[in-house]
Subunit: 335 residues, 2 copies
Amino acid sequence: MKSPQVSISDIARDLGVAPSTVSRALKNHPEISRDTCLRIQEYARKVNYRPNALALGLKQQKSFTIGVIIPEIVHHFFSSVISGIEDLAYGKGYRVIICQSNEDYHREVINVEALSDHRVDGFLVSISKSTRDNKHFLNLSEQGIPIVFMDRATPEVDSDRVLTNDFEGARLVVSHLLKRGCRNIIHLAGPQHLSVGRERYLGYAEALKEAGVPLQDELVLKCDTPARVAQHSAKLLNLATGADAIFAVNDFTAVAAMRLLQDHGYIIPDQIAVAGFGDDPIATVVRPSLTTVEQRGYDIGKEAARILLNRLSGETEEDFKTKIFPAFLKVRDSG
Amino acid sequence: MKSPQVSISDIARDLGVAPSTVSRALKNHPEISRDTCLRIQEYARKVNYRPNALALGLKQQKSFTIGVIIPEIVHHFFSSVISGIEDLAYGKGYRVIICQSNEDYHREVINVEALSDHRVDGFLVSISKSTRDNKHFLNLSEQGIPIVFMDRATPEVDSDRVLTNDFEGARLVVSHLLKRGCRNIIHLAGPQHLSVGRERYLGYAEALKEAGVPLQDELVLKCDTPARVAQHSAKLLNLATGADAIFAVNDFTAVAAMRLLQDHGYIIPDQIAVAGFGDDPIATVVRPSLTTVEQRGYDIGKEAARILLNRLSGETEEDFKTKIFPAFLKVRDSG
DNA sequence: AAAACCAACGCAAACGTTTGCGGATAAAAC
DNA sequence: GTTTTATCCGCAAACGTTTGCGTTGGTTTT
C-alpha cells in the first residue's frame, strides 16, 4: 500500500543514467538527446514523478511561495482578497500560505516569523488593529523581502500598497446622506492609527465641511464591531435621539447599529438613516438594504499579488507605489 | 539594507566551531558543554538566526505543513473551518497551506498535486461538488499520506471523516415544520453524490415518513445556490403556489428563495415557511430571521486537524473513524 | 593522420540541516 | 605510568535538486 514519492535519483537508478541527466531531460535541455529525453519523461510519467518543492526551494533559494497575513478570514472582504490572490498566484506557479492574526499583534509577529522560516518569497499583509510597532515588517524589508500592504497599511514601512480610496468613499456616502437632508450624522469610527479608519473619518469630515455643516466631535464614536456596538448601546441610543443618520466604518457595524435602533422602535431610514462601508453581502440581505461603499476585495488581492510577483521576478525595480482603487457609492434603502 | 538570512554554517564560521556543534547547541544537546551552548545560543539570538524550514523538511522528510483544500473560502462555514484548523495546527507547530477548488474538479486535482509537491504531511479536504472521480485522493492514500475529510466526504476513499449529523439536522428541522402544520414542504436539495446533499435529503424524507406525510418527488428540486434559485425561479414560484414550506440545503439558498417569494408578495412565514441549514451569520440578519440548523465549522475544523495531527504523530494506528457532530435546531422567525 | 570539434552524458559541489560515528583531550582508575 | 572512562566536539553523509565543468566517444577539419 505504501509507495513513497519517487525521486530523480530513483529514476536515474532504474534507467541506468545519472541524476543530472534525468534533471536535464525533464526540462528538455538541448544537451540531452531526443531519445533519452523521451525515454526519461515517459518513465517519469509512468511512476508519477513529482519534483520535491522543498529541495527545489533549498537549491534555488526561492520557494515560489508567498505568505499572506490577514486579520480574520471570516470577513467577506478578506476572504475575497484571498481569492484574488490565489487566482493570480496559482496561475503563475506560486503557492500561498495564509495566516490569520486575529487582530492580535503578538500573533502577527509569530506569523511573520513562521512564514519567514518557510522562506516565503514575499509577503501580502493587512495589518492587525492592535499593531502599533512595525519592527517585524521593517525586519523583512531589511532582509530585502518584499511586502505589499493591502487595505490596511502603515506609513512606517516603505513598501507597495494597494488600497481603496477610503477618503473618497466616505466623502461620497456622507455627502449622499447630507443631500438627503441629514445634518446630525453619527460616525462610528475605526482605529485612527490605521489608514482605513483615519481616511474614512477624514472623508466624513470633508463631506461635512463641503456642505457647510460643522463637525460635532461628540457625534464621533470609536466603535467598529458589532461587539462594541452592544457595549456602547446606551451611549449610542442616547446619541441617536439627536441624530438623523449614522455612518459606520464597516457594514457589520452599520448593521449592528441598525438592529439596535430597530429594536428600540426606530424606523429606518425615515427617522434615522444608516450607511456602512464595504458592500458586504450582508448589505443586500438586511432589511432595509444597506447603503454602503463598494470595496472590491477580489481586485485588491489580485492587484497586490500582481505587484508582488512583479517585484519577485525583478521586473519592478522602481520606487514603491501605492495603487488606490476607486470607491463607488451603493445607494440602497437604508439611507 | 540587504542582510540575508543567517545559516548554521554562518554561525559556525563566526564562532570557530563546527556546524554540527551549532545545531546541537541550539537544541541543548547534552553532549555540548554548558558554556558553548550559551555562547552559541546568545550569538544566534543576536544575529536573529531562524532555522530554514525547507532544509529541515528535506532532511527530516517531514514538512510540518498540512494542506487544506476547500471549495470556497468566502463561505462563512468554510472560513470558520479554516479558523479552527489554524488555531489547532499553529499551536502544535504546524503550518497550513490553503487551496480553493472553486467547486471545480480539475482545480481540485491541481491543488492535490501542488500540495503534494510541497510535501505536506497530510490533507484536510472538503470535496468539490463537481468531483466524481476520486483517484487523486486514492493516490494519496496509496502513498500513505493521511487525509481527513471535512463535511463533504466520499465513501470511495477510506479515511477519517469529520461531519455534521446532516441526517438528524434535516430531520429535526423538517419535523419542526411539520409540527407547525406544514404538509407540502419543498426541498431545495444539494448534489446527491455528496454525503451532505444525500443525508439532508434522507433526513427530510425520514421526517415526512415519521409524520405519515407522503413524500412528493415533484417537491424536491435540485437547487443549492442563489444562482440556481434565480435560474429556477419560475418553476419555484409555480411550486410555491401549492406549498406551505421550503427546506433548503443551505442558508444562502434559503435566503435567496425567501427573497424571491417576498418579492412576489408572499408573507413569510404566514403563507410559506422557510428553513435553511448551516446557521450562517446571514440567518440572524435577514428578516424574518431564518430558522436553520447549527453547523459548527470552527469545531469541525479543529477536530479534523486534531485527528490528522494524531495520525501524523503516530499516536493513532487504528482504523479510520468518522466523527459526527450533533446538529442543533435553531428556530427563528421564518418558520 | 593529427588536430579540432561537437554531441551526449557523468561527476561533484552546493543549498541548510541533522546525526551516527569517530577523535581528541583530560581526568580517573589500576 | 599505562589503561580506562568520560566529556566535548568535528567529520561526513544524507535529504532531492540544479549546474558548471569534465569526460567520453565519434565526426569533421586540415
